[in-house]
């Protein structure tokens, strides 16, 4: 089969799915939707696998062009895809995890009246996400970038009768757009500098630029603003917790596994530009580390099962950015991959719990679900161990790779990052214990209805649990006799920047083991601390608004960042809107115009006649006039 053809088929399937479901979602029977929705993504997955096995065939000509999208002057934007190990890795994650989540949704959304609409949006999301990862130039990537933002908007506000959800959706879109402006300006500067927006040409030219070139720093910073918006980093992260208003599979797919990692992918893709901009790298490092800690500290006191996971996602994305900032591109992509497995699993598990409890999301009203939802419990446990970074599960290896690189860079940064890991272990095990251990704290009615989710939902959980458990094998470090296979696979993509990253003195095996040991011991300490607080002893579960120490109060209230934004951004703009309209517009500009106008009226009494009279008559006169003018020629 023609390889180019295969590549273009990958995004076409979900697009077709969207078109069919979108046009006929009210008339297509549910059964057909249940096959069509996940089916299109499965086809994409199969073709992605095919591309994966043939990726070496693309090494010669990685860029596949379909047609010229925009061409004016020297601006040339082909509608082209780039097939290389990095995009293929993303393809597999998006379509693989995407397919599992689609299957899960068949069960989860079964009773929802908007069933068809849901799958239409989800398919559209997969389509745009595929454009994002396949694009061979920044504008095509940007199509996907904004397109997934649209789908995120549509799916967060999926239950659109509720204005709280709609507000959350709008907030997500607008915050993303703030980032997108940065991305857009970054593209313009790239075009200004390199006269091209295609990855191959830009990176080729960039290689020759000096380290620390101010233009490159500006470009990378602007692009990073885009990443900050999309990947929910400080200061543009507040939309992600609110985005939990969407159905849980949406949170799993868009707001955990795929879309929010787009920023990481974009920077990994632009790795050459970034290694040339050490200043930007520092900014990314500081932002990522601050976000990782900040979000983790908020997660500790959240009581909504999905909110805990949302802050956890923000925090984990922070780790990925930290990895990028020290040039550990493979490490960041590795963590992106394992995170996609375990975080999707956590969200789907949370969905299974919410499903069983009839919509309950407050972990204070859960507990003891271990025996009632065994499959959910076991898979959730695996994911929790994985994210906490306990070997031999996947999260340990991916996080460790980032931590080790960080240590090579600075031991202080390493300590800070380890503190973040501690918090991760604590809030995750708190979540696990409060949800599944001790006895049930909900109502009797909920207790009566408790049930394990149907097979269509638990099967994806089990598959994801296997991936979350063994995902570490993808890139086992040498120390465990691993072949660093992911590193090897991705090496061509990062080859040029690897040369530029100043090689650190290789760490001795004993140091590496020591660091791993320290991390592991403190993480396990946290697991036990959480065990004592939430399982061994009666957990202290205070209602909302209970009096707490002020630092805790600060964390419970998410550091009042939403309130702060309201005061320094939303309110001033609304005030400005009022002033512009009522003072500048009406009292000033318009009054001035009217003043001049009145003078005209006063002098020009002759125009009064147009205020009265018969329209037909005027029209007659006018048309007569036109004809007269046209024939004036002959008359003169």
């Amino acid at each position: 089969m023609n390889l180019t053809f295969v590549v273009f088929l990958i995004p076409i399937f979900p697009l077709l799915g969207f078109l069919i479901l979108g046009m006929g979602f009210r008339s297509i029977p549910k059964k057909v939707t249940s096959i069509l929705g996940p089916g299109t993504v499965l086809l994409s997955f199969i073709f992605s696998l095919f591309t994966f096995f043939n990726v070496h065939n693309f090494a010669g000509s990685p860029t596949q062009t379909l047609f010229t999208w925009i061409h004016t002057g020297s601006l040339q934007i082909p509608f082209a895809f780039l097939i290389d190990p990095l995009s293929v890795l993303m393809l597999l994650i998006v379509t693989g995890v995407g397919f599992l989540i689609h299957v899960y949704s068949v069960g989860y959304m079964k009773e929802d009246p908007g069933y068809g609409r849901f799958f239409a949006y989800m398919n559209l999301f997969v389509f745009f996400m595929l454009l994002l990862v396949l694009g061979a130039n920044y504008p095509i990537m940007f199509i996907g970038w904004e397109g997934v933002g649209l789908c995120s908007y549509l799916l967060i506000g999926f239950w659109f009768k509720n204005h709280d959800y709609n507000n959350a959706a709008k907030k997500a879109f607008i915050m993303n757009r703030i980032g997108d402006l940065g991305f857009l300006l970054g593209m313009f500067l790239i075009f200004n500098t390199f006269s091209s927006l295609s990855f191959d040409q830009v990176f080729q030219q960039a290689k020759a630029m000096p380290m620390g070139d101010p233009t490159i720093i500006a470009i990378t910073l602007l692009l990073f603003i885009g990443a900050v918006g999309k990947s929910a980093q400080i200061p543009l992260y507040t939309w992600l917790p609110d985005a939990m208003a969407g159905p849980t599979p949406v949170s799993a797919l868009i707001h955990a596994a795929t879309m929010v990692t787009a920023g990481v992918y974009m920077i990994a893709r632009s790795n050459i530009l970034y290694v040339l901009a050490p200043t930007t790298m520092s900014v990314i490092g500081i932002t990522g580390l601050a976000t990782a800690l900040f979000a983790a500290s908020i997660a500790i006191f959240q009581n909504d099962i999905k909110k805990v996971l949302a802050y956890s996602t923000i925090s984990q994305l922070g780790y990925m950015f930290v990895g990028l900032s020290v040039g550990a591109f493979t490490g960041a992509m590795f963590h992106l991959t394992t995170h996609a497995f375990f975080k999707a699993l956590l969200f789907l598990g949370a969905g299974s719990v919410i499903h069983a409890l009839g919509g309950e999301q407050d972990i204070r009203n859960m507990g003891g679900l271990r025996s009632k939802l065994p499959k959910t419990y076991w898979t959730f446990l695996i994911a929790t161990i994985a994210i906490a970074g306990i070997p031999p599960l996947s999260g340990f290896f991916s996080k460790d790779e980032i931590l080790l690189h960080l240590f090579e860079h600075s031991s202080l940064l390493w300590i800070i990052a380890v503190v973040g890991s501690l918090m991760t272990a604590f809030y995750m095990f708190r979540l696990l214990y409060l949800t599944f251990f001790r006895s049930f704290r909900g109502t009797d009615e909920q207790m009566h209805h408790l049930h394990e989710s149907p097979r269509v939902m638990t099967t994806p959980l089990i598959i994801l649990a296997i991936l979350a458990a063994f995902g570490g094998l993808l890139n086992l470090p040498e120390i465990f006799n691993g072949g660093n296979s992911l590193s090897g696979f991705l090496a061509p993509v990062f080859a040029d920047s690897a040369v530029l990253v100043t090689p650190e003195t290789p760490m001795s095996l004993s140091t590496e083991l020591l660091l791993m040991g320290i991390t592991l011991i403190v993480v396990l300490g946290m697991v036990f601390l959480a065990y004592f607080r939430f399982v061994k002893n009666e957990p202290e579960l205070l209602p909302d608004g209970a009096k707490r120490p002020s630092l805790v109060q600060l964390m419970i209230n998410k550091y009042y960042i939403d309130e702060l934004y309201d005061y320094i951004i939303s309110k001033p703009i609304l005030w400005l809107s009022k002033v512009f309209h009522e003072v500048v517009e009406i009292r000033f500009i318009d009054r001035l115009v009217n003043g001049v106008g009145n003078m005209v009226v006063w002098t020009g009494n002759t125009v009064r006649f147009i205020q009265t009279g018969n329209v037909g008559f005027y029209m007659f006169i006018m048309i007569l006039g036109i004809i007269l003018i046209l024939f004036l020629n002959i008359l003169i």
Partner: protein
């Protein structure tokens, strides 16, 4: 010949219409005629593409002693505008069928008369002819707004008329002045006017006179205060004609007149105009955020959007100029779509106030989908028409000044804020007693909206057909400034 037929055909049609009595027949005739006019425009397009680059010129002597000739023709830019006009007029006519206007014969024939004048403006290759059509367009526009408009229409349309009329007088004075500076024997022919010998200070005065005329028509901040009132008070068809097509006369005029005639002063004035345009973008966007009346909200959003187009014309590079031309088309398509949707909502619920509405998507999912697509076009989501234009405009602006581009770029954030707010308050949320009986789109309403949706996606996906059409002419215009 096609060029002249394009002008005369709507004129003839409007004459016939006045004599028709039956409303049904009037509508059918108006619609069929305007569709035929569009077919003629497409034929002109095909001729232009396939035959020579002869600009489809038609010349006839007229007042030859004064150097005035009936010279009509079309280059790529004219053709784009003619296509836009003839594409939108049938849509506007079809969208008007929901109303039963008094004196339908006068109403529909005025629309066609206006079409004639607009086409005339876009195909005139002679200064005086251009001016005549320019003024001619104002008359039917004024009648449509003043006779079939809403509350306070007389005061508002009077202001609109006087304001734009005064602007045009400035243009007339400038035009005559330039005429007397053309090489002997004086002529109003475009090429002669372009060749007029003007000192720098003369050019500055001419620039200001032309600029005021165009800035009022577009409108560019701070000449815009007639616009929100007029769009709000006008009948739906009037708002569409004004915002969708008529304001493009001003932008077209800038490209056709300001750049070639005032080529030495353009660069000098550009920073001033850019400050005005960019201020207007932010100013109007911020005002739009709090508007309750949907029509007024869209009116302010339009000031922001056309401000960006005006800015793009003044940075004088091919990216922004190409963007400006394609965005003129996109803006026309999108704003007509928005006004149709608003009109449909008003007919169904009796209000345009967004705080009274809500939950319409539950009752009218088709309307909600179409509204969403049009809205995405106007907030410039990639793969819609708005993105192509705004991307090129902002890129061109960036080449001129990064600061201006960054500030003008705020429009992509603000437009999301006010448009999504409007969508949320009308389409989403719970149904209330006002929206409870909303019905979904009828086939006739779909027929008006679907062509717009197709255009939004077509330009967004495959813009090359449109960009190619104007590529050479844009360069040619810009060469006057070299």
């Amino acid at each position: 010949m096609l060029t002249v037929i394009l002008i005369l055909f709507p004129l003839a049609l409007s004459l016939i219409l006045i004599s028709v009595r039956q409303e049904r027949a009037i509508r059918q005739l108006a619609l069929a005629g305007s569709v035929a006019e569009f077919v003629l425009a497409v034929a002109a397009f095909i001729t232009y593409k396939t035959s020579c680059h002869c600009n489809l010129l038609v010349t006839a002597d007229w007042l030859s002693t004064l150097g005035v000739s009936l010279k009509f023709g079309m280059d790529g830019i004219s053709l784009m505008m003619v296509m836009l006009t003839t594409f939108l007029v049938p849509v506007i006519i079809l969208a008007s069928f929901n109303h039963s206007y008094s004196k339908p014969a006068a109403f529909y024939s005025l629309i066609l008369l206006m079409e004639m004048a607009l086409v005339g403006v876009f195909v005139a290759f002679d200064g005086l002819v251009f001016y005549i059509f320019w003024e001619l367009a104002l008359i039917p526009a004024w009648f449509i707004c003043a006779v079939w408009g809403g509350n306070d229409r007389i005061r508002i349309t009077f202001k609109f008329f006087i304001y734009t009329f005064v602007g045009s007088l400035f243009m007339l004075v400038a035009l005559l002045y330039v005429y007397f500076k053309t090489p002997l024997p004086h002529s109003f022919d475009f090429q002669w006017l372009y060749a007029a010998r003007l000192t720098p200070s003369e050019q500055s005065w001419i620039f200001l006179a032309f600029f005021v005329a165009f800035a009022i028509k577009i409108p560019v901040f701070p000449f815009h205060t007639w616009q929100p009132d007029t769009y709000t008070a006008a009948p739906a068809a009037g708002s569409m004609l004004l915002a969708g097509i008529m304001l493009k006369m001003g932008l077209y005029g800038m490209i056709r007149w300001l750049i070639p005639v005032c080529h030495n002063t353009m660069q000098q004035f550009a920073p001033v105009v850019l400050v005005l345009a960019v201020t207007g973008i932010v100013y109007a966007s911020i005002i739009a955020i709090r508007q309750q009346d949907m029509k007024r909200l869209v009116a302010y959003s339009s000031i922001a959007h056309v401000g960006l187009i005006a800015a793009g014309i003044f940075v004088l590079n091919p990216y922004a100029m190409q963007g400006a031309v394609i965005q003129m088309v996109s803006h026309g398509v999108n704003i007509v779509g928005l006004f149709i949707v608003i009109d449909l909502i008003e007919q169904r619920t009796g209000t345009r106030n967004i705080s009274d509405l809500g939950g319409i998507a539950l009752k009218a999912p088709r309307l909600a989908i179409v509204f969403l697509i049009i809205l995405l076009g106007s907030i410039a989501l990639p793969l819609t028409n708005g993105f192509i234009g705004e991307f090129l405009l902002l890129l061109g602006l960036f080449k001129y000044s990064m600061i201006f581009a960054a500030i003008a770029g705020l429009t992509i954030i603000f437009s999301a804020v006010y448009m999504l707010r409007m969508y949320q308050r009308t389409m989403l949320g719970k149904i209330n007693e006002i929206t409870a009986l909303t019905t979904d789109l009828s086939w006739r309403e779909m027929a008006a909206l679907i062509p717009l949706v197709i255009m939004i996606l077509w330009i967004g996906l495959f813009p090359m057909l449109f960009l190619n059409l104007t590529a050479d002419d844009v360069i040619q215009v810009l060469n006057y400034c070299r």
